[in-house]
């Protein structure tokens, strides 16, 4: 999958840094200690010279949301793939509470939690492609449904590939029920907020890359249950910001398999 830079990345000279060990002129004054581990110094150098960095993993649907939002806005950023089994110092520094991805770092300051980051991006890059509607009532509807995706899609969906037996079935049924409600909310509109890709679309579409995994391990077809939703998914993918930000479903499948092996399901 192509990298997500929309323009030339500000090249962080990784090799050069290893040779020279530069002292970081970090905007995190006061936090930076004298005796830094090299990795932290290297990472802080990146965050202080590149205005937007995204700490993320390719397969994270939450990370995908932030990527799509940045792409929609034409915002340049550095994608920093994190190893979640061996969390790096910058991730722990920037998200001490949850220690999770995604973390958006803008001018040295972190924004954690994907939907919060998407709202932040919408506020800051407000000159193009608004994601949330401008009317407070419409915004409330968007926030409601994005919150619904967080609670009622991710958790049941997860059961379809991390559980078996009754728990798997419960997950499957919960997921289908949620997707049908979302289908109902979408109605005949091309996108959730109307004519263009918006906040709820951004909240939900990343899970499309996880559907193949859900279907394989859960042994069901989402398209059979929710054809309109799948049509919406395919429509979303026509947007470059989405197609650039979603990994290949095969990549997600491999990720699922690795975790399943760890859970003793394979």
């Amino acid at each position: 999958m192509a990298t997500v830079f929309t323009a030339e990345p500000k090249a962080f000279p990784k090799q050069a840094a290893k040779e020279k060990s530069p002292a970081p002129t970090s905007r995190l004054d006061g936090i930076v200690e004298e005796s830094l581990s090299f990795t932290l110094a290297e990472e802080l150098f990146v965050t202080s010279t590149v205005a937007v960095t995204l700490l993320d993993t390719r397969v994270s649907p939450f990370g995908m949301r932030v990527r799509i939002a940045l792409e929609q806005k034409g915002a340049k950023y550095e994608f920093s793939e994190q190893d979640l089994r061996n969390k790096g110092p910058i991730l722990l520094e920037m998200n001490p509470v949850y220690k999770k991805v995604p973390v958006l770092i803008h001018n040295g300051k972190p924004i954690c939690e994907s939907l919060i980051a998407v709202q932040y991006i919408d506020e800051v890059w407000n000159n193009k492609s608004p994601l949330l509607p401008s009317d407070p009532y419409q915004r409330a509807q968007s926030r409601f449904w994005a919150d619904f995706v967080d609670n009622k899609v991710y958790f049941p969906g997860r059961k379809t590939w991390t559980k078996k037996g009754q728990e798997l079935e419960a997950g499957k049924n919960g997921l289908i029920e949620s997707l049908k409600l979302l289908e109902g909310e979408l109605g005949d509109k091309p996108y959730f907020e109307g004519d263009k890709l918006g906040y709820v679309d951004v909240a939900l579409i990343p899970f499309y890359s996880w559907f193949h995994g859900y279907e394989t391990f859960g042994n069901f077809s989402i398209e059979a249950e929710c054809p309109k939703l799948i049509a919406w998914c395919k429509r979303c993918i026509q947007n470059e910001s989405v197609s650039k930000s979603l990994p290949d479903p095969q990549e997600v499948y491999v990720f699922f398999m690795e975790l399943r092996k760890k859970l003793g399901l394979e």
Binding site: P96, I116, Y120, Y137, A140, F144, D147
Partner: protein, 229 residues
Amino acid sequence: MKYSMAEEIKVFRSWSSRFALRIIWALKLKGLEFDTVYEDLTNKSPLLLQYNQIHKKVPVLVHNGKVICESLVILEYIDETWKQNPLLPEDPHQQANARFWAKFGDDKVLQSIWGGVFLKEGKEQEEGVAASMENLKYLEEEIRGKKFFGGETIGLADIALGWLAHYLDIFEEIVGVKLIDHEKFPSLAAWKQEFANAPIIRENWPDRDKLVTKYVAMREANLGKGTPK
């Protein structure tokens, strides 16, 4: 703009819901007049079920016929519709920060204290206490040096975490475990006092004795003792 007397604001709540209380606070802090519909959550009205088909819960706000559900969503709606006494700052990063702590409050603090401590006993409760302490430590760090999470005035995060300033004492009393003590969490303990006694907030706490009765029954029901409510 929106101060007209033709505004119709209605809040569906229960007498005890700490989530609905957030909405009452926000509306009163903005100086707004509204009607209240008290729901018996064991016997939900058809109107509530119609307004909140997805979750079937309180609070629900109805503003000039427009229905909004989910307390944090409602708070943002209120703040965006009525601009006086803002709950969120203007700076986007500070806004993100306020939202983060409000969400942390619900996802972590509430879950660990309610689900992990209040509804448990024995070893499970001990684990819940440890988890709650971890979460409270983050709040302590965030509130240090500030009067409110929102700064000088009550903000979104204060309202979201506000239940700690009244309901927590009740939970602590019932289970016999002190979570926010002055020594371990001095800044958080100070915030609790400040918030609990703030104008509007101090006038709207539900009756303490009634809450004790209710929560004792809930705890016993959850632990399989006594008759469920």
